[in-house]
């Protein structure tokens, strides 16, 4: 993959520039009730970045807010120092596997081609170039021989790799992945991780929402611990301390939950 070489360094990851991703005071609410409070986080170098936290901590919500999929009630997110709409093609996304209907009448190739639609724009159909790109992406995730298969007839791990291939076809500089390892067999996990490590080696930033603490420590260069608010962020070893984990997994979210209720009803807590 040679995009980085093709247009070298244009706003790309470089020292001294704006951070690759900048969460500024992000607060997100569902139905008026905040589920993520004041997350403030800058990521300024290409790396494998894990967003870690317990179930219901708002990790995926944070990712969706960054992509503009759920509205923020406060704060902002910038990529490469710019608002998302100016740099959409440079941001790749892998949603959770359960969010789509796998019985949909498309095959693996069709899905991967969807990664090229953003650059194609209205009305234009994918051509030979896009097909080649999709084949290369499938090759990278080890699914080249399944291109013609209906997506429902894949294993969970293969489905996840199809989603990853679709994101690769986006040719982005920052990748956001929502629980890519959930419900995935070991072989697929390794394959996915290998591709993510390659992306990092190419100078891209890979942000992964992840729930498994054991693997987090060995996979990610940097992590953020999130439980309705940002508990800590930084180099993995420095962040995953017993004290921080205690604050994340047995933290004080009941305060935030009660407060969230009060905010949603425009009243006061007891």
């Amino acid at each position: 993959m040679s995009r980085a070489a093709a247009d070298p360094g244009q706003d790309g990851p470089r020292a001294g520039g704006p951070p690759l991703v900048d969460f500024h005071d992000v607060t997100v609410a569902y139905g008026g009730r905040p589920v993520i409070w004041n997350v403030d986080l800058e990521i300024d170098a290409a790396c494998l970045f894990g967003i870690i936290g317990p179930n219901g901590a708002g990790k995926s919500t944070l990712l969706k807010a960054a992509l503009g999929l759920v509205p923020m009630v406060g704060g902002s997110v910038h990529f490469f120092g710019k608002p998302l709409r100016e740099v959409r093609p440079r941001v790749g996304y892998v949603p959770q596997r359960e969010t789509v209907d796998w019985d949909f009448p498309v095959n693996v190739m069709d899905v991967v081609l969807m990664g090229t639609y953003g650059r194609l724009g209205w009305f234009r159909r994918p051509g030979a170039r896009e097909r080649q790109l999709a084949r290369d992406s499938l090759d990278r995730v080890g699914l080249a021989d399944l291109a013609g298969r209906q997506i429902g007839r894949l294993s969970g791990g293969q489905q996840q790799r199809v989603f990853l291939a679709r994101a690769l076809a986006q040719q982005a500089d920052v990748y956001l992945l929502d629980e890519p390892m959930a419900g995935v067999d070991m072989r697929s996990q390794e394959q996915i991780f290998r591709v993510l490590a390659e992306l990092k080696a190419e100078g891209r930033l890979v942000i992964v929402v992840h729930h498994d603490l054991r693997t987090a420590a060995e996979w990610f260069d940097r992590v953020a611990l999130v439980d309705m608010r940002l508990v800590a962020s930084g180099p993995t070893a420095a962040v995953l301390t017993p004290e921080n984990l205690q604050r994340t997994y047995a933290g004080h979210i009941d305060v935030l939950e009660e407060l969230g209720r009060a905010v949603a009803t425009r009243g006061r807590t007891p």
């Binding site: 969706k64 789509v100 899905v111 679709r166």
Partner: protein, 290 residues
């Protein structure tokens, strides 16, 4: 001029309704795949208000006028659905049922009030309830054909965009596509096809034209494009069968016949389709257990 013993007018009407059946199957496929199968039903039941309203407002009974009224009412019904979702905590299924029941009630109120309010020549509006193609003219058939072609062309142009949104709206939004706009196009096309289907199938049953052929077509194929073509063809066949049978047997409204033809196609597909049919599944299960 006759063909197969059928008068010219019946043949022309059959062509027009066939075109509508085709386009409804194509558009309906998008709607069913987007998991909005019954949106068309809400739009359909609202059309009656528009038919009566257009007649009251203009005093005209030509098909184009009535269908413009029907389309406005269908869109108003869908807007009401959006308002209920946005401003109340009523759940989607109840919201759809409310729009269906109340808008149809208003339509019935208007249609049955017309004679008493001095509109003696309102008879004929009831053909929009269960569909009756006998009264259609060649010009009406041309109009329906035109609408059907328009809808088919829009789907062809936006095939990539609508497929993307139907499959994975979150990814579409994350990659910068205006999901709301594309959804509006899908639902708008469904409203258009429901309205175009009114003269032949009627407000109560026209939803079948956008639901049954896509569901039947899905049994035969795993490719989106094939499914759209197949659903269109099945809709076309059902429409033609309905028109011809009701031409031969005028006591029967066209709508129920179209629906029964579509249901027969669905039944065959559901049971006998290779791979996804019931028999194929049973055989597979048996083979796996053996």
């Amino acid at each position: 001029m006759t063909l197969l013993g059928l008068p010219y007018n019946t043949l022309v009407v059959a062509v027009g309704v066939a075109a509508v059946g085709f386009a409804a199957g194509v558009v309906g496929s998008l709607c069913v795949l987007r998991k909005r199968s019954l949106v068309g039903d809400a739009a359909a039941h609202a059309t009656l208000v528009g038919v009566a309203g257009a007649f009251l407002a203009t005093g005209r009974r030509d098909l184009a006028t009535l269908l413009v009224g029907a389309l406005s009412a269908a869109i108003a019904g869908l807007a009401a659905l959006l308002l209920v979702r946005r401003f109340t905590r009523t759940r989607d299924d109840a919201a759809t049922a409310i729009v269906i029941g109340v808008s149809f009630g208003l339509g019935i109120t208007l249609v049955s009030g017309l004679p008493a309010w001095g509109y003696a020549n309102s008879a004929g509006l009831e053909q929009f309830l269960l569909g009756h193609t006998a009264a259609l003219t060649a010009a009406d058939a041309m109009l329906l054909t035109g609408v059907a072609c328009f809808a088919t062309v829009v789907v062809t142009l936006l095939f990539k965009e609508t497929t993307l949104v139907a499959f994975d709206a979150a990814f579409a939004a994350a990659t910068g596509w205006p999901v709301l706009l594309i959804d509006a196009v899908i639902v708008g096309l469904v409203a258009v096809m429901v309205v175009a289907g009114l003269p032949a199938v009627g407000a109560v049953l026209v939803t079948a034209l956008v639901v049954i052929p896509p569901v039947a077509a899905r049994a035969w194929t795993d490719r989106m494009s094939t499914m759209l073509l197949l659903a269109g063809t099945m809709g076309l066949v059902a429409a033609v069968v309905g028109v011809l049978v009701s031409a031969a047997w005028p006591r029967l409204a066209t709508g129920p016949l179209v629906v029964l033809a579509a249901a027969a196609i669905f039944g065959i597909s559901f049971i006998a389709a290779p791979k996804r049919g019931w028999i194929a599944r049973r055989l597979r299960d048996a083979a796996r257990n053996a």
